[in-house]
Symmetry: C2
Subunit: 333 residues, 2 copies
């Protein structure tokens, strides 16, 4: 099914063979995540080439034919006609694939297909969310931000997360006013923005909660929650990305904090933590059934603090919020 | 100093301007590790372009001039003459940099310079090793491999590691017989191969210890240790990579286990966990003063178990083993 769709799109793009190198794309098509040097070559059919170290497990797990890798310098002979690669492929590798590099195209076939999730992928994402949600109950705020992040990551790992989906963010006090604050060795203050996710069978989850304890923080928190609800309420197949983003942005702007909502409302995720689509008012396109996206508005007041609330949503006729965690977890403080 | 050396090499390579995108290379040259979209452009002088989110911290930490990023589609206008990029740069980005992609070169200037470490880099690596060495004392083998890895990573994090230098390996019992074994949810058996490292100020450490408790395991362990000592004893400026690898390989071959030493003896590391050189008998080149490399022979007996011992060595006239951890840590079992 996946195979066919990908072959069809490559055909439409007038591509005869594609070289695929990203482990996430290899996992997507074959079911096998390589631990070492590996690539796919897709022409009539996809074939997975793996290193000897991966041979046994690839033969067990891969849903497509597997063969032994050949050196990159010899891959050229396996590629025919119009050649495509992933946009993310290293330039140094592209140079091995053809004597005429300007003839090599990039294809977005994987990004396009991976935008909407299969049933199996949705199950993996749900499991990944479950691990992340359970783990937050064990977070330990008694010491530094780093300590809190470490306690959360520890609990995700022992419950089956391969690794954190991204570097866990614990940004507290004034440090919460930057959405990219680096988790510090400073003692935890309030409010505390915690942004975390697990990886289950290589599928990510992505959640944020902000822990608050003053009236001023609660005032901002309520605005962010209202904005998030407004965004989530718009999520349905056929709605434009911009409309979802604007739903959240309009609420925050109405309360006078528009200039402090300094990122987009959400993004797709799956095998990678950032996948298409980008839910921004500058993005073109509209939601499709079985996309899985985040809804994560925030307000960041310089020198004061920041608040963000993030949940994960499956786009359907009646869209489904996949995260079931309470928005308010202040009892964990 | 770094600036000058890089400008000189680019000049020798007949390159007029270089676009640099890897965060490790940006950190190497500027001292600042970007959290967001950022790049360097090097022509007469290097200039760091950062996103607004990084502006404040870049201005504080960067040792080179910083400016606001311009869109990739506009970067083309900033590049002059013969253009070079990193070999690792994404093909999709390269396409923005010139209308004639076949004219774009790759330069190994960063890989070349980063092979040997500055005094400051060596201090960071030593700190990273210290964090990793302290943390192993807290490892908890009472449950699963995942639990042991999580306990080790937790302790590194709370002691100042930004994140693990790579996915911590805890491979026990029969699973230790593959050097790429995935840390599992199985209960820990012996022997236990633990391969771990921290990141301090973005600099890695890389250590392996194998925990043993039978005579058969000790027999193999002693051979690996003898091989590692032989390799470490050869390490000095001017010695070929192949000679270091063969020193370890010859010992293991003499004992009849040559076919089970299925990887190379070591590799450089620093900001990345794998940097030049590769210490292999197929590699060409020789050690230089101030390289930092691993020495990590291993024996992997299929269906039985594997043993690896890994330490980190600074190449000098009298080379210095930077790890000071006991080879035998079986008291932690």
């Amino acid at each position: 099914m996946k195979n066919e769709e990908i072959l069809n799109q490559l055909n439409d793009e007038n591509i005869d063979s594609m070289f695929v190198y990203s482990p996430e794309n290899i996992k997507y098509l074959s079911g096998f995540y390589p631990s070492s040097f590996a690539y796919l070559i897709i022409d009539e059919e996809p074939v997975l080439y793996v290193n000897s170290i991966d041979k046994e497990s690839a033969e067990e797990k891969s849903e497509i034919e597997t063969r032994d890798v050949v050196k990159l310098s010899e891959v050229k002979d396996l590629l025919k006609g119009n050649i495509a690669v992933e946009s993310s492929l290293e330039f140094g590798l592209v140079q091995y694939l053809s004597d005429d590099i300007s003839a090599i195209k990039t294809s977005k076939v994987f990004a396009d297909k991976r935008k909407t999730k299969t049933k199996e992928e949705i199950t993996n994402i749900k499991n990944s969310i479950g691990i992340a949600e359970n783990a937050i109950m064990e977070i330990d705020f008694s010491s530094t931000e780093k300590f809190a992040a470490a306690s959360l990551e520890f609990d995700m790992t022992i419950n089956g997360s391969i690794k954190p989906a991204f570097d866990t963010i614990v940004a507290s006090g004034k440090r919460s006013s930057s959405p990219h604050s680096e988790t510090s060795m400073n003692r935890v203050e309030t409010p505390i923005v915690v942004d975390w996710g697990a990886k289950y069978d290589y599928y990510c989850s992505d959640i944020t909660r902000t822990f608050i304890n003053t009236e001023r923080q609660e005032e901002i928190w309520n605005i962010v929650l209202e904005a998030q609800k407004a965004a989530i309420n718009t999520i349905a197949p056929g709605v434009s990305y911009a409309d979802v983003d604007n739903a959240a942005r309009d609420v925050i702007t109405e309360y006078g904090y528009g200039e402090y909502f300094i990122h987009s409302t959400g993004h797709g995720f799956g095998l990678d933590i950032h996948e298409d689509p980008v839910i921004s008012n500058k993005a073109e396109g509209e939601l499709e059934k079985n996309m899985v996206i985040t809804a994560e508005p925030g307000i960041y007041i310089p020198g004061e603090f920041g608040i963000r609330i993030e949940d994960d949503v499956l786009v359907k006729n009646n869209s489904e919020v996949l995260t079931s965690l309470d928005k308010k977890l202040d009892f964990l403080l």
